[in-house]
Amino acid sequence: MPKTSLQHTTLAFVLGGQQRCIEWAEWAKQFVHDFAIDELEKALQALAEKVGREKVRQVYRKRLAEEVRNASVRWTTALDVTSSQEVKVLRNDQLLRLIFEILCLGRLASFAEKMTLLTQKESEPEAEVWFAGHKCMVEVKWYDDPVMQKEAGKMWSRFITDPRPKGVRVPSENLPAHVHLRDKLEGVTEKFKSSPESVNLVLVCWFSVQEFGFTFVPALYGERFMKVPFHPLEFALPQPDELGEDGLFAREDWRLVSGVAGLWAMRSPIFEPRELKWGGMLFPNPKALIPIPQEVAAKLGEALGLFTVGTIQIIFTAEEAEALYDRHVRPLEEKFWGRLAAVNKEGQVLVGDDEVDLTQKAVERFGKGKFILFRIGTKAVGRI
């Protein structure tokens, strides 16, 4: 008996038998690595544990067995990692999208208190997921970056595509990236019309090299918030009345959406055993009818590695930190040059020589995260 059928029992159940599963896996391997099929099995198992095998089959059988197999495929140029040669490979975008969606929902299933897979109607999101007593409706979207179309989904492709398209920096439609993203998200609010009382989340698969500061930030909050490079800890969430009219969150219908995330999954570490690492950034909607509760943000962090922008209270901006140095540490340069200084917002200073020791004292005295460490004289504690 081939290994595939024994390893992928849930996939076999969904597809209607071991033989079908073997055929399907052989077919899918034209487009994805074996590990993607293994991960698919794990995700289906997690979903089955939460919503029942029958429900998983009901929702995904047709999509896996028919829709992706009948989807159009295209040839694309990619880099064969074993030979370092450019090769032409077949790509099935619909399969990549579906695998990502199932993996993402499978991950949520592992952390959810309860979960329901919805029936994939146009008017509904993908799933209802309960975190910390909060009902969350989740819609998973796939973003095809026009610039990096070859790059998008590379982790799922059989070959790694060349991440450096020669000289290509402008989207093919000549649209700025955030405008393109905004267009892609148009209409997503329809999915949440029947759930205005829920935490409504849009998770966008994001395998792009485009900066969040160029894309999600201006698309959601308005172009005037565009900032590159984007430092999530430096970004102060706009107040509802500060939102730019061109940003999606300023719109009335978008009040239904609690937040939008850019999300990716990478296979790491470099050596075996490898696992899927999730990460991304969740952008809360300041005008949302139902804001994202802190407990939900924490669960999303755990499940998908999402950092919710605005969850860390910024004690001081970079400019304020520099001003603190000038006012309270610079006068100490003559006496304490080369030593370390921990400074809080009130200008209280602790001086020491050992980073760990000084930090522990500063945490006790000023509170966790409520101070900044400088090296007296050079300002920077070290180089990264």
Binding site: T308, T311, E355, T359, Q360, F371, K379, R383
Partner: protein, 128 residues
């Protein structure tokens, strides 16, 4: 000249509180500290460990300076039997271990000796 793209990777175990994890990190002698984790893990780590313990003012490779969040923890190169108390920073896109690991394991004199044994003049000093 085309870069080879080859890097040294070191397997380390890091720990903050009771949470510990093993990973491969790139050895970067341009990094003066012990361990950096990718900032992309911030969301996950905040949910596991709470807010970062503090912020340090650091210099990046392009000479710009910024404040970087960190946790207080320890790092142990697998096989060394040593646990080095340190700041674990969250910056950039990849895991890196820095010079302090080499220093604390007393490897720097070995590197110097290896260089000198090949007739190369080398010194270990502060960046002027």
């Amino acid at each position: 000249m085309q870069a080879s793209g080859k890097v040294f990777l070191v397997k380390v175990e890091w720990q903050v509180g009771r949470y510990k994890e093993q990973l491969w990190a790139e050895l970067d002698t341009g990094f003066s500290g012990e361990l950096v984790l990718p900032a992309t893990r911030l969301g996950e780590l905040i949910s596991r460990l709470g807010n970062p313990d503090g912020f340090s003012w650091v210099e990046l490779a392009d000479s710009s300076q910024m404040k970087a969040p960190y946790y207080i923890g320890s790092v142990s190169p697998i096989g060394s039997g040593r646990h080095i108390p340190c700041h674990i920073y969250l910056v950039g896109h990849k895991a890196i271990v820095g010079l302090k690991i080499l220093e604390s394991l007393n490897i720097v004199p070995d590197i110097l000796q290896a260089l000198r044994s090949k007739g190369i003049t080398a010194e270990w000093t502060v960046d002027p």
